[in-house]
Symmetry: none
Subunit: 209 residues, 4 copies
DNA sequence: CATGAATGAGGATTCATTCAT
DNA sequence: GATGAATGAATCCTCATTCAT
């Protein structure tokens, strides 16, 4: 009731929006946007249904907020890390892969699935995501590859076309974790997959190339 | 009015279920299961709302039917092709990649996105898909890799961990086609991606391995 | 295929309407008008759904037909029997009771339940039934009672008010048979009930009146 | 605005379920369960369609609730009145009849019609009703009759078989009130009928027995 | 005549959103 | 601010009715 008493409540209040967004991300990702009831989001966030509307005018606004707190910060961190890197290109790629492996343990991996699933219903979001996130990530990677090729560290390939070969397996692991991976005993060890992937990507699968 | 006269009606009736399932696949994939109105499925299939129920007792049954007409036939074709193959392992992998490139042009590619998005709401389907489709596809690929390794054609790697490196890029292309690819001008040329992918996968990205 | 061959089919055809009405009576009485699906009526009558419409333009028409084939013939028979009776009034009442006991074994007993249940939805039918059936039956009974009183065979009571005392138990038995009687082991033996009823009605329940 | 100000809302909310159930009883009884639209129930209860579902998960649950608030309390009251009675058996029977006459003015009389009409569709309810209500009421009556016979107040008859003779007319009046009675000018005066009934039942119809 | 596939209006149910407290 | 009771638009599903064969 005193000064200290209001502190936790204050902090609580400030945290509300992101607590709600976290709950929403979990449920949206699990059930999809349309199949998620706002009441369940409220329940999971530990607030009442009405409280949601104090922070997010509509369900769609909540959806947008969920995605906003998404990957961009991470992407920016990677951009900075790349700019700061001074070693060889293979080293840089390995470093990025290691970072993605860490991200893979995060709730953030639910976002790609969400964007994928709902891009048909929210074209504006899809565009935003394609332009703000994907395009930037691609530019980052093609830049790395181009530089590696120029330096003679990498074989000359079309950087744009090579991107799925680098990213695809990580995307697959992220999606797997939030979908079939929940429902089968088929195990895909992320670390082993990542290491194998970098080995194959850099050195090839054939016994002597 | 004679024998031929009755044909069209007959043929029409027999074709209905799959016509409806096709329409449903398109819309489910575009909007998700929950966000798709059965009325729109009917409209797209050129029938009335009620007609749907002549063939599919519930929306969920329609969903199951949609998935059933899915990837299994293709997988079986691939299993047979593999069994019939007598060339080198790299050749076989290239042949499979070429086949997947063809499948990529098909409506079937909408199915992975659907299964992904709805596995949280339909655990039974997720399990079925994981066990009937994914497990079999994985077994096929690990078998090929293992044989290639035994023959000395491939470097020794853990076959299971190597699968995402092979499949990931194809999955990514399929998902891209049905999601962000619809909403951005970023172009990913499937053929170029596939060729680059096989080149990288088999020979590696580093300039001299 | 010959003359004789067409006979049964002919007879069949002529019998159709009443076969359908019988099936409808059974189901309407069991489930109510609204809850009965015409498809089930068709099934039970051994015809197709479309065939129903060759004989009855709408579901409501079928309902009316069902009731029409109902109690009127029986009532008329009773009226004639009463007119032809020459014994004492108590004898006549016993004779009517015996007749009602026979009717109780008939499908006709389903009709009162139906009329009861649907009178709210079909006021026209209710009126028709009240005026054509109930009023006539009441007139018949009050006439008997009045004559019996005039003759000194019965104690002087208001004939109209006495009717439920005579009819009520029979109605109860008919309704019981088509409702709770189907779902409990509580047994009400119609013959015993009827005999007790006539004994009580004529002689009273008190030990010395 | 103070304590009293919050009352109406509180009271309102607490009363809602039974207000709704009352509206439902009226309409179910008038139109039958299947023919009653929940929207009309809501309208009559003065709430919206959605509010119904706040209190009753399904239409069938509402139906069960309607019946539950039914005759049992009345039956229990009668059981207690019987236990407390110390006069002669004919007196007791007359007292019960008088009580039933009062009940006849109540909305409760709609329930037998409902149970009757829907027993085919809701066997569980039919069983419950037969066992919880009818069986108990019968036991009560047979007990009274048996005691009366033992005491020599009543002539020796089979108590079970005599029940319809006592109850039938009351049941008939209740059903009449909610069915044909609404649609015809044929008048059945409950009080006159009841008095005549008790007179006839106790003393008989024949002029000297 | 008979059939049963096709239709679409009607009704139960869900859930995003509002608002009095 | 926070709550949760109340609302009603939206959607799945049923079934009386039609009609081409």
């Amino acid at each position: 009731m005193q000064a200290t008493g209001s502190q936790p409540r204050r902090r609580r209040k400030d945290a509300r929006p992101s607590e709600i967004a976290d709950a929403a991300l979990a449920l949206f990702s699990e059930r999809g946007f349309a199949a998620t009831r706002l009441e369940d989001v409220a329940l999971r966030a530990g607030v009442s249904k009405g409280t949601l509307y104090l922070y997010f005018p509509t369900k769609e606004d909540l959806f947008r907020a969920v995605l906003r707190q998404g990957l961009l910060p991470n992407l920016e961190a990677m951009e900075q890390a790349v700019a700061a890197h001074h070693g060889s290109t293979p080293d840089l790629l390995r470093q990025i892969a290691t970072h993605l492996l860490v991200v893979l343990d995060t709730d953030l991996t639910a976002i790609p699935k969400l964007v994928l699933a709902e891009s048909g219903n929210f074209p504006a979001i899809a565009r935003l995501y394609a332009d703000e996130v994907v395009k930037r990530a691609m530019a980052l990677l093609t830049g790395i590859l181009r530089r590696g090729i120029e330096r003679g560290e990498l074989r000359p390939v079309d950087p744009q076309s090579a991107i799925p070969s680098f990213i695809g397996p990580f995307l697959m692991m992220a999606l797997w974790k939030h979908s079939l991976g929940q429902h089968t005993e088929i195990a895909l060890n992320p670390k082993a997959v990542m290491e194998t992937h970098m080995d194959l990507l850099l050195h090839g699968l054939e016994s002597r190339s």
